[in-house]
C-alpha cells in the first residue's frame, strides 16, 4: 500500500490535548452565549462563529485535514456550501403570508 504524505506528519499528544482544551473552552463559551441576555440575531451569529471555529479545529487536527491535498479539503466543504444554498432558498419563505405560520395549540 502506498505511503501517503500525511502518514509522516505525526501529531503529538500534546497538540491533541491542547485542541481538546480549546474545544472545551469554546463549548463553555457557547453555553454562556445560550444564556446571555443579547439579541437573538447577535446570539445566532456568535454561535455560528463558535461552531465553525470548533469544526475547523476538529477537522484540521483530529481528522488531519490540514495534511490532506487541497482536492480532498475542497470536497469536504460541499455540505456546508450546499447547506448555505438550501438555507438561502428556504428561509425567505418564512417571511411569507400568515398561512405559513404554525400556531400554538
Amino acid at each position: 500500500m502506498a505511503t501517503h504524505e500525511h502518514d509522516v506528519h505525526a501529531i503529538s499528544y500534546r497538540t491533541y490535548t491542547m485542541t481538546w482544551f480549546w474545544l472545551l473552552v469554546m463549548t463553555m463559551l457557547a453555553l454562556g452565549l445560550g444564556y446571555a441576555p443579547i439579541a437573538e440575531r447577535l446570539k445566532a451569529l456568535l454561535l455560528v462563529c463558535t461552531t465553525l471555529a470548533k469544526i475547523l479545529l476538529i477537522a484540521s487536527i483530529f481528522m488531519h485535514l490540514r495534511y490532506e491535498k487541497i482536492n480532498l479539503i475542497m470536497i469536504t466543504l460541499a455540505p456546508l456550501i450546499l447547506a448555505v444554498i438550501l438555507f438561502s432558498f428556504t428561509f425567505p419563505e418564512t417571511f411569507g403570508s400568515a398561512s405559513h405560520v404554525i400556531s400554538v395549540r
Binding site: L31, K54, I55, F62, H64, N71, A78
Partner: protein
C-alpha cells in the same frame, strides 16, 4: 497499437485515470470521506428543516429551561473527550503501538457509552414529561418532533460508531491490526462529534 497502449498508460498515470489519486489518499479513506459528506448533507437537511419550522412558529419553548443543560454539557464533554482520545488512538496505530491504540480505543468507546447512557436518560425524562412525536406539553408540536428526530438520528450514529470501534479494537487486540482501519473508524467518530457540535449550538442553545 503502441499508440493505444501509450494512451492507456497516460490515462492511468493521470489524476483521473486511477493510476494516481487526485485526492492523495487510499480508496478506503476516500470512500469514508464520501460517506461522511453524504451523511453531513442528511444532517444539514434536518437542521435547516428545523430552522425553517422554528422560524414560522409563533413561539418556541426556551430550550435552556426545558432541558437539563448540565447534562447536555456533560454529554458534549464526553463526546469531545472521546474524539480527542480517538485522535490519539490513530496516532498510536500509525506509530505501530497496537496495545496503546487498543487502550485509547477503549477510552473512546467508554466516552461513547457514557454519551448514549446520558441520552437514554434524557429521552426517558423527556417522554416521562409528556413529549411525543406529535404533541408535547410545551405547545409547539414540532418542538418534540425535531428533538426526537435530530437527537435520535445522531444517537443512532453514536451507537453505530461505538459498534464499529468495538470491532476495530477487538481486531487490534487479536493482532488483526490496520492503521488505515483505525483511521477510517476515527474519521467516522470525529464526524459524529462534528454533528453534535452543530446540534448542541443550534438545537439546545439558539
Amino acid at each position: 497499437m503502441d499508440a493505444t497502449i501509450a494512451e492507456q498508460q497516460r490515462i492511468l498515470a493521470s489524476d483521473w485515470g486511477g493510476g494516481k489519486s487526485p485526492f492523495g489518499t487510499t480508496w478506503s479513506k476516500f470512500m469514508m470521506w464520501i460517506f461522511i459528506i453524504s451523511d453531513a448533507l442528511t444532517f444539514a437537511g434536518f437542521l435547516i428543516a428545523y430552522g425553517f419550522v422554528r422560524s414560522i412558529s409563533q413561539e418556541w419553548p426556551k430550550q435552556t429551561k426545558v432541558f437539563n443543560m448540565v447534562l447536555i454539557t456533560f454529554m458534549t464533554f464526553a463526546l469531545i473527550s472521546s474524539s480527542a482520545v480517538m485522535a490519539m488512538a490513530v496516532g498510536a496505530a500509525r506509530a505501530r503501538q497496537p496495545k496503546l491504540a487498543v487502550r485509547f480505543l477503549g477510552l473512546t468507546i467508554a466516552g461513547g457509552l457514557i454519551f448514549l447512557g446520558c441520552q437514554a436518560y434524557e429521552w426517558s425524562h423527556f417522554i416521562h414529561e409528556g413529549a411525543r412525536l406529535t404533541h408535547n406539553p410545551w405547545g409547539v408540536p414540532q418542538f418534540a418532533a425535531a428533538f426526537f428526530v435530530i437527537t435520535g438520528f445522531h444517537g443512532f450514529h453514536v451507537f453505530s460508531g461505538v459498534t464499529i470501534l468495538a470491532v476495530v479494537a477487538l481486531r487490534a487486540a487479536v493482532g488483526k491490526y490496520s492503521a488505515d482501519g483505525v483511521e477510517n473508524a476515527g474519521l467516522y467518530w470525529h464526524f459524529v462529534d462534528v454533528v453534535w457540535v452543530f446540534v448542541f449550538a443550534f438545537f439546545y442553545l439558539l
